[in-house]
């Protein structure tokens, strides 16, 4: 079966179920290099499951994921981790490593057994830590910094992996507005360097502002996808989230802006 190498990552008809619960019901996606994709959807709609399937943290019962035409399911672990980095949703932590060491873990696929990270790896780590604004935390312990700071440390670890594809599961959920903007700006810059960014986001307006392409999930199926203007319409938002929004058009280069409306006023 000839896979199209034009796509950075291609999801082909994947189905995932946990026991009798069908969480993903045949999802297909084609994602191009150098673009910023946003995955949206209510809690439990299958966003994390989709991202995990792409990162092979989970094996779909049906279908497959292709990276530059190569089946992810057949790749060696190390090889895959040089192609796809993934920031997972929960970063509960029980260890007390220095932040620098946590970021350096991102070099794992590149450092051979019996070796430790060298000067080059530390240089890469430093650059990533400056980019995600955690360089000043480098000697602190990972369990003794705030949730948002920890989130940024794990983002730095994903950057250090130097992959073409970066998956981010709710990368800005624990961040204040300054750091939200900072991380999304960083993601935007990365797409300009040719990376493909795929992020699960809950903030519809930030998604609208930053993403080139949105994918709206509901109950494990794609309800709509395309550029923000096409996805964030009053009709779709209402259908997916069950709340009636007020959509303002023409803000920030024509990207829609969603205002939720109090239920009793409808």
């Amino acid at each position: 079966m000839g896979q199209d190498k034009a796509y950075s990552i291609e999801v082909r008809d994947i189905e995932v179920s946990f026991g009798s619960l069908n969480v993903l019901k045949g999802i297909s996606l084609k994602m191009e290099r150098g673009r910023f994709y946003g995955i949206l959807g209510p809690n439990g709609s299958g966003k994390t499951t989709l991202l995990k399937s792409m990162a092979r943290a989970l094996r779909p019962q049906k279908g497959a994921v292709y990276v530059n035409g190569e089946n992810v399911g057949r790749m060696k672990s190390r090889e895959l981790s040089k192609r796809i980095a993934c920031l997972h949703q929960s970063t509960d932590i029980t260890c007390d490593y220095p932040v620098m060491d946590v970021v350096l873990m991102g070099r794992y696929p590149y450092v051979k057994r019996f070796q430790t990270e060298g000067e080059k790896d530390r240089e890469i780590a430093k650059k990533a830590m400056i980019a995600s604004n955690v360089w000043h935390l480098k000697d602190r312990r990972i369990n003794e910094i705030s949730g948002g700071e920890r989130q940024r440390v794990f983002i730095a670890r994903a950057l250090v992996q130097e992959t073409d594809i970066v998956l981010l599961d709710e990368p800005i959920s624990h961040l204040d507005i300054q750091h939200q903007i900072e991380i999304l700006d960083l993601a935007g810059t990365m797409t300009q360097e040719g990376k493909t960014i795929i992020a699960v986001l809950h903030d519809l307006n930030l998604a609208s502002m930053y993403c080139d392409h949105l994918i709206m999930l509901k109950d494990g199926a794609i309800v709509a996808q395309g550029e923000p203007q096409k996805v964030l319409t009053e009709e779709i938002v209402k259908r997916v989230y069950g709340v009636k929004p007020f959509v303002i058009d023409g803000m920030n280069d024509n990207r829609p802006y969603i205002l939720p409306v109090k239920k009793q006023r409808i």
Partner: protein, 348 residues
């Protein structure tokens, strides 16, 4: 400070610890009921080293003393070091792998399995057969591995092994093995003393035959475990994240479980259950250095060796020897409680 900043300092400290252990082993050999002077002991030991032997005049050292030093004390002290190393390395690995500070080397039922194996051998009179390679030891070793295998089979679901299932299966299978052993003891009252003594954890009668098998297993196993320290660190920072970094989490866990089980089975088979070593030594190291397994694993190993040689030496001082397992618990439990109280203060 990150690990690589201090890499050389750690390497130096580790070499220093290793030398300390060797020195301790040599000193420990001079201690015991028979009054053999330090000088004589050294003569006996050096006399056995090829090339150097010629330089010592061994004439005035008595043959009995030589036998005591070479065939009784030396093997047991080396066994003490090896068992201390093995138990602490495994304890540290399990605590890291299960993200559970209370995991000790016996959590997966190794001790109960070994005890059952030994009891069966003792009940059948195997301990009375002199000369053969200790049948009791062999039975204990095989039953220990068998128990872990059963625990593992119960806990695994498909390709995955959940930590919680492993620990729970370990508890359940341990209780089952212990109850079978109790039945054996009730039915064979004349053997109860032997079985109880075996379980107390003693290395008083360790032979060279046992040491020759034990030491390579422990050393090779400990080194192998240390090789996985980096993976263990990454797994401890989140299993999903570890998978995305290319760590084959399930494979690493399985390999470590197999290595650890073999180490502990070998230790338990030789010495019975020696408690607390695998718990307090890794915790002490962690208290000083933090939880980086690249530090915790090797230093726990050396520290465990030192600790058990010390305990074994002390156990030989009173006229009636106290089994070393009793001593480690006597020292270890209060110390562990003090660590607990201190860490409680830190949290509150």
């Amino acid at each position: 400070m990150s690990f690589s900043d201090k890499k050389y300092r750690y390497r130096f400290a580790l070499i220093f610890g290793g030398l300390l252990l060797v020195l301790l082993i040599l000193t420990s050999v001079t201690v015991g009921a028979a009054n053999i002077s330090l000088l004589d002991t050294l003569r006996i030991l050096i006399g056995r080293i090829p090339f150097l032997g010629g330089f010592v005049s061994g004439g005035e050292v008595s043959r009995t003393h030589e036998l005591i030093v070479l065939n009784i004390r030396l093997p047991r002290v080396i066994a003490a070091a090896a068992i201390g190393i093995g138990l602490s390395a495994v304890g540290a690995t399990y605590q890291g792998m299960f993200a559970n500070p209370m995991a000790d080397p016996y959590v997966l039922g190794v001790s109960a399995g070994a005890a059952l194996g030994a009891s069966i051998a003792i009940v059948m009179g195997a301990d009375k057969i002199v000369g053969g390679f200790g049948l009791t030891t062999a039975a204990a070793f095989i039953f220990a591995l068998l128990t872990v295998f059963i625990v593992f089979s119960i806990a695994k679901t498909g390709a995955k092994v959940s930590n919680t299932h492993l620990l729970l299966a370990g508890v359940a299978v341990s209780f089952f093995a212990s109850s079978v052993m109790s039945v054996l003891m009730v039915l064979n009252r004349d053997k109860v003393a032997n079985i109880t003594y075996w379980m107390m954890g003693s290395i008083a009668f360790t032979s060279w035959k046992q040491v020759i098998i034990l030491v390579p297993l422990v050393i090779a196993g400990t080194i192998a475990v240390c090789v996985f320290a980096r993976e263990l660190n990454i797994i401890a920072a989140g299993e999903d994240g570890a998978r995305s970094l290319g760590v084959e989490v399930e494979k690493v866990k399985k390999v470590l479980l197999v290595i650890c089980s073999v180490i502990v089975a070998a230790c338990v088979a030789v010495s019975g259950v020696i408690g607390f070593v695998g718990l307090i030594i890794p915790h002490t190291v962690r208290l000083i250095s933090g939880s980086d397994n690249r530090i915790v694993l090797p230093f726990s190993a050396i520290g465990g060796g030192i600790f058990l040689v010390l305990c074994d030496t002390i156990s030989r001082i009173p006229t009636a020897e106290i089994p070393v397992g009793v001593l480690t618990s006597m020292f270890g439990a209060p110390y562990f409680i003090s660590i607990l109280i201190r860490s409680k203060k830190k949290v509150v």
